[in-house]
Amino acid sequence: MRYFRLLATLLKVNIQMSLAYRADTVVNILLNLMWLGWELLGLSIIFNNTETLGGWGPGELIALLGVFRLVNTMMAALIWPNTEKFNQSVRDGSLDYTLLQPVNSMFLVTFSRITVWRIWDLVLAFILIAVGVAMTGATATAVSILNFVLLTVSGTIVIYSLWIVLIAFTFWFTKFDNNVTILQALLDAGRYPVTVYPVWLRIIVTYLIPIAVATTIPLQALRGELGLGSVVTFIGIGIASFLAASSVWKVGVKRYSGASS
């Protein structure tokens, strides 16, 4: 409960900060709509030339685009601005103030900066997912939709956990401030089902930088391709990676000794 109140307060602070740039918000939303149009045009070009992409139909790819945009929004609204602030605070020592607060430091590092206008992007993502699922029609059952939602959440947590581990590395290597670039670079691979990629690329985006866990795999659940065993396994991976990331974070914070000492 306390954390919800805290989150609401942080959101309020960020809304106040962003009110200074109202015109930019409008421009950003327009550009965002333009890219959505571009993405849909891309899909229509693909489906003008083929009925299925690796066995997937248009509805499934629109839902995938929605899930991709969900992850992308997390990157743009939380991960990028907070990484920037975090890297800066490790360098100049202002992280001390964050650690001194009587609140979980991982929580504060995750939510202290929020790019507010991206909430709009979140709405768009949900619309895309709903439209996509509706387009797939009869093939989706209540169970497969439930699995889809659960795996989207757990996949997003896997990527979030990877981020926490990447920025926690800064406690060991202060100069490691390119930390999130690799995540962003490979993110684009989440736009299409990884099953159409060559094996080496599939391995990279499934195991090394697990973009697919948050994009392709939830969609496979929606298509009813995953058995109960795999669904449970992927949810387990989500929980395990969160626990692992939290403990890496704790060890890292213990190592941290401030910028001046």
Partner: protein, 265 residues
Amino acid sequence: MVNIFKRLWQVNWAEQWQYRANLIMYLLYFLVSPVIYLAVWTSIAASRGEVNGFTTNDFITYYMTLLIVDQITSNIILHIFAYKVQDGSLSGELIRPIHPMLTNTLVNNIAFKALSLMGLTPIWIILFALFRPDYSGVTWLNMALSIPAMALGFIIGFLLSAAVTSLAFWTTRVYSISEFYFAIFLLFSGQFVPLPLMPDFVQEVAKYLPFQLSLYFPIQLILGKLSPEEIIQGFLAGILWLPISIGLFNWVWREGVRRYSAVGA
């Protein structure tokens, strides 16, 4: 003048060389999309035999060639010039008796290009081994013709980007404007798919726009996919767009510098 360029080259090469670690990240960013499109379209072509006349190998060679042509014809003006207008550091360059955009920025671009091509080469060889493109359709004549084509593509793209970036003299939102410009480029240049796969109206419009000169035209020229008429048409378009882009850039630049009042002045 030759000496000026020589010195500018030394300075800019040294500057770019400093950032070689960032270069790896840049290349990673740059590589991912073409490789993904390659994978998507080859998988479609493989399941159907061909797409609109494009076989699997056509897609592989198209995107593999795109990786190189894009490095040669693209530019990074926005990233090295816009902030100079915003923080006022352009003032120092403006009082020199040489054009800031056509000397310093140009040479910096070329230095970046040389370095990124060096970085791309080993990666390209690895991708070559992974995708095994069949380049047997390429002839020496096509290769030779592609050199002036890429030069035209680079110069026109450079001038147009320079004109767009010069809007920084008027507005701090130049990054948003550039994003819009980039989306138009993406649509009409053949970066996403070879243009014949685009909807008809896009193809028709693309013919009259300069963007395909930077990617689609040189790529298809190298691959020997263009008829003699199409080759002549492409070069004519380039020769027509060259004076237009020179005029456009000169005009925007002249008006912009007149408006420019350096930060702090």
